[in-house]
Symmetry: C2
Subunit: 606 residues, 2 copies
């Protein structure tokens, strides 16, 4: 059956609400953002908040339709929640606080607290609790395509990280773990079909460190240099978001023969490079030269909890690696981290900038006693997993211009724990033994996640099982960024001249350009445009009477409709030109144009 | 061409996310609200905020599709604005303040002010200003179907007055008044088609008093006893929202022979009835008996401006009429009014409750001088238009137990102006001379409004005209309450057993019920359901195995799908039963069922 509708839309450029811009907007950095603005698909209304013009809305509707079809195909049922929600359910799960400043909060005229929902786990859980009570009602999958809100600190890249955006979110409900696994797999398969139909290249990466146990979580990334997510993969099949990469932990090292730690003067060695050079000059190692990997760098962060409390955290990493702030934040979530500032240092004179060492940190440092009598480190200290017992380090002596050598982990110092916060580098070994990783960047398009029983427990969603016993339901949460997918499509399908949409999501299938001044040109072009529409083809028809061919072609390339039909000079010879947005032009007899172009469109949509 | 799709949806009740309720929800007062909840179409999430379950969402989508088609048919182009908007444009037009507590306001993490938009006049105006600059670009009509917010003081009747709701709003842009008239008429015609296709009875009423001049404004009301709007109409064709009714002003009366005003003791005459009785007893009128219409009742209100300032207003009306608070508020908008309270009276000892008269009010009362030297009445006094010069009144003497008689308007007292605030009654004469009015109630479904140049002026939307001169654009604003239309449809199409949707908006066309225990019943029912779906019919199939026929029929009537097909006992005789939701049952041979029911559905949709 034809993928075409009974009748296509005809968009005449003489009246279509669109104006193209020749210049890039000042605030746009990435190609999709620049081109979607320039081609008149969207307009910025406020930071991270956009208005959809007719062409953009058409593309958005097509993406939504594909997502909806594939969700329905796995039996998911569509519902629709409000965006404006009362505080209470989010309070019950702790997310009212955990979301911190990322949540838009407001009060109504009666001073009741509301939020603009960033996701709807709580509401879906409560709705199922309201309607269902038996294991016989399950499995159940619900979804919505809905406008969501997130008060991003740094909205960027147009639609890629916005504050008001459209998401498809779905939730599965099962009373057994096996049921959840099956629901998860159905979503995974559906997502593969969705991104394939959208014409989007994608990579499925693990989104959660194995350290967190059985729950599965994967992301669908569209590989792109402008993506915000970094992921790793190996030839052996490992793929993970860099935030989820687990460092293979080396074996502990025997340290019986290690020399005692000794403090040495290291003037002007406030950087790792200077320190290594000085160590090799003044304290040469017999077996090989010192390298940055022999130093232990202690980096001070201020960590803010969702409730606003702020404390210091020192992360110790081998000196040849930086701390990756995104990995750090992923490890600390929902807390947020930033490099410690002068005010933070001022409160802790034991931290000597450039010479910070373990002996004032964590268990070695000052301790504080809580009201309940438990003690904890005054300065929390977490180590990279590579700092295993027995490893020997050159590190700060907590005195200006001095470092300590041969400080042995497990002998001379300990920490409050380990943390996955060091940068991941190309060539690092994957935790599954599949070899060295390579790094790439991607745009997160989708996320599938085995929530388990967290929300059901917090909100009391239970069903009676086969034995009449109340059991807590296990849930999955599955998202697709619909507006973000549109931006990713633009990012993946453009050239220097404009957008180049896949036919499945293009605002129209064919762009008919009338070039010339004679009425016969416009009559022939209109006739072809209308003929195509009668066959179900969606047509942009550039019927503007006093616009030059050059401007018309430039606009056509900017708009990015897949097939261009030029009605102009060739008309005298009874031909029109057909030119794919990316491809070679050819001529067709006028009389065949409608049938031949319709067939091409059907081919593109097949 | 068939109105059916290529393939219909099949909704199996064994898995459909719906639970019907036998009891009315405690907080529901009107039938549509009760039934939409009981039939599992919507669920309440917060006051005036609802979640859409699958059946409700299907109806909503059908209404939206009809609205969209008819808007596109008049050349309106679809766009989509954010709901979360910055304060500035609404500040520029004054609406940030004017909306008062009806606006949901919030701040983002940078303390910038935002609102959840109740309507988008400002944004459309600015968008057109952004893209267009010439009269050649006009006329233009844009629309969106979008979620809107209004912090109603009294959300009520379910979807009829909600705080988050879906509206179609459209805006026309023209550079001439004739253009605006044409755009207005196109919308008026489109609205007639929309409400006709929805199967909704409607009345078009004037929504603005002629006193406001040339701008036209009309409302589309669905007549309903639970409607919030009262409207009047005459056999002669006059129809107006009661708030827009203009009182025909009587001619002035000569008062040369009127006696001088005289104060009389009127003990215990604090009510109009008591006063009239006492006047007839103690001060009989020679020509006829005094009636309540001879008394002038002065009612004290506290009026709160959008900026929060509060002042007193006294409205003088003939004693046989009440002040209609909705008419009063319409006349005072955007200010809000409420009966004055004890605290208000305490500040004005000159107001003697039950005996308030003109001589301490308005121009006769105390005056206040503003900073700019202008003076105004300390207690603003506005009169019903019937109180024309020369009319003689019995009214309060501003002394307890005393009234003044023969107080003549224009001779003994004046006012600060007139106001349309007295109740309108059946039998009142229409202002256009078309005779006495009757009153009815309706639900406001749509509103069309010639905005004129107000927003374009405030926001600087001009285009160059034929002579290269910048002219301010004139606009129209046109709304349809989409979620409210759904409620109105439910209100207009139900009986005591449940909903009864018109086929065009029903969640499905046919409800197939399998009654009985044999597998052959379920096989035959499934075969018919699937046969219908293959013909494009949308089917709810009650395939629940262990549910009694009584429950199944009750659910079918509650859900309100137009055609019921019963597969059960008759199967032994080779027949099934077809029963319209409202109509007589008949039997059909099983073999003909699919074709015959499909034909019926096509008939219903034609």
């Amino acid at each position: 059956m034809s993928a075409l509708a009974r009748r296509g839309d005809l968009l005449r450029l003489s009246t279509l609400f669109v104006r193209t811009l020749r210049e890039d907007p000042a605030d746009a950095e990435v190609a999709s953002h620049k081109l979607l603005i320039r081609a008149g698909y969207i307009r910025r209304t406020a930071p991270g908040i956009y208005t959809w013009l007719p062409l953009g809305l058409r593309v958005l509707a097509k993406i939504e339709a594909i997502v909806r079809e594939e969700m329905q195909a796995i039996g998911a049922q569509e519902v629709h929640f409000p965006a404006l929600l009362p505080r209470e359910p989010y309070e019950a799960t702790g997310r009212w606080t955990e979301y911190g400043p990322n949540l838009f909060r407001l009060q109504d005229r009666k001073r009741a607290d509301y939020l603009l929902a960033p996701t709807h786990e709580e509401m879906f859980t409560l709705l199922v609790k309201d309607l269902y009570s038996s294991y016989k009602d399950l499995p159940l999958t619900l979804f919505q395509i809905q406008t969501k809100y997130r008060d991003e600190a740094r909205p960027r890249a147009g639609l890629i990280r916005g504050r008001e955006f459209v998401m498809k979110d779905s939730y599965s409900f099962d009373h057994t773990d096996a049921g959840l696994d099956a629901a998860y797999q159905r979503h995974r398969d559906a997502y593969e079909r969705i991104f394939t139909r959208l014409g989007l290249e994608y990579v499925i990466v693990s989104a959660m460190s194995g350290a967190m146990g059985g729950s599965r979580s994967e992301e669908f990334l569209s590989p792109s240099p402008i993506g915000e997510d970094t992921f790793v993969r190996t030839a052996g099949g490992y793929a993970a978001n860099v935030e989820a990469v687990v460092t293979p932990v080396p074996d502990a090292v025997a340290y019986d023969d290690a020399p005692a730690a000794h403090v040495e003067p290291t003037p002007d060695a406030g950087t790792i490079d200077a320190l290594v050079a000085l160590a090799n000059a003044n304290h040469p190692r017999p077996d090989r030269a010192w390298t940055a990997a022999d130093t232990l760098k202690n980096v001070v962060f201020a960590v803010t909890q969702p409730d606003g409390t702020r404390g210091l955290l020192v992360v110790g990493v081998p000196g040849d690696r930086e701390v990756d702030l995104k990995r750090l934040e992923a490890a600390l979530a929902p807390a947020e981290a930033e490099p410690a500032g002068d005010a933070d240092f001022a409160k802790h004179p034991e931290l000597v900038k450039g010479y910070i060492g373990p002996l004032v940190l964590g268990p070695q440092g000052a301790q504080v006693t809580a009201e309940d009598g438990t003690t904890s480190s005054a300065i929390r200290y977490l180590l990279d997993p590579r700092v295993v017992p027995g490893t020997r380090w050159i590190t700060g002596a907590n005195v200006a211009d001095h470092h300590v050598f041969d400080l042995v982990a497990g002998r001379d110092f300990a920490a409050d724990g380990t943390i996955e916060a060091a940068e991941v580098r190309a060539g690092d070994l994957a935790p599954d033994g599949s070899g060295p990783v390579e790094l790439a960047r991607g745009i997160e398009m989708g996320h599938i996640f085995q929530l388990g029983r967290k929300y059901a427990e917090a909100l009391g969603l239970k069903v009676l099982d086969e034995n009449g016993k109340a059991v807590t339901v296990t849930m999955g949460s599955y998202g697709i960024g619909v507006t973000r997918a549109l931006a990713a499509l633009a990012e993946a399908n453009h050239d220097e001249r404009g957008l180049a949409w896949p036919a499945q999501v293009a605002p129209a299938h064919v762009h008919v350009v009338a070039t010339g001044k004679g009425t016969e040109v416009f009559e022939a072009a209109a006739s072809i445009a209308e003929g195509l529409v009668a066959h179900g083809v969606e047509v942009v028809y550039d019927d503007r009477p006093k616009v030059s061919p050059g401007v018309k072609f430039a606009d056509a390339e900017l708009l990015g409709v897949p097939l261009l039909v030029v009605v102009g000079r060739g008309l005298a010879d009874g031909v029109v030109e057909v030119r794919p947005r990316a491809g070679e032009a050819e001529t067709l007899p006028v009389a065949d144009a409608v049938a031949a172009v319709t067939a091409r469109v059907e081919g593109l949509l097949a």
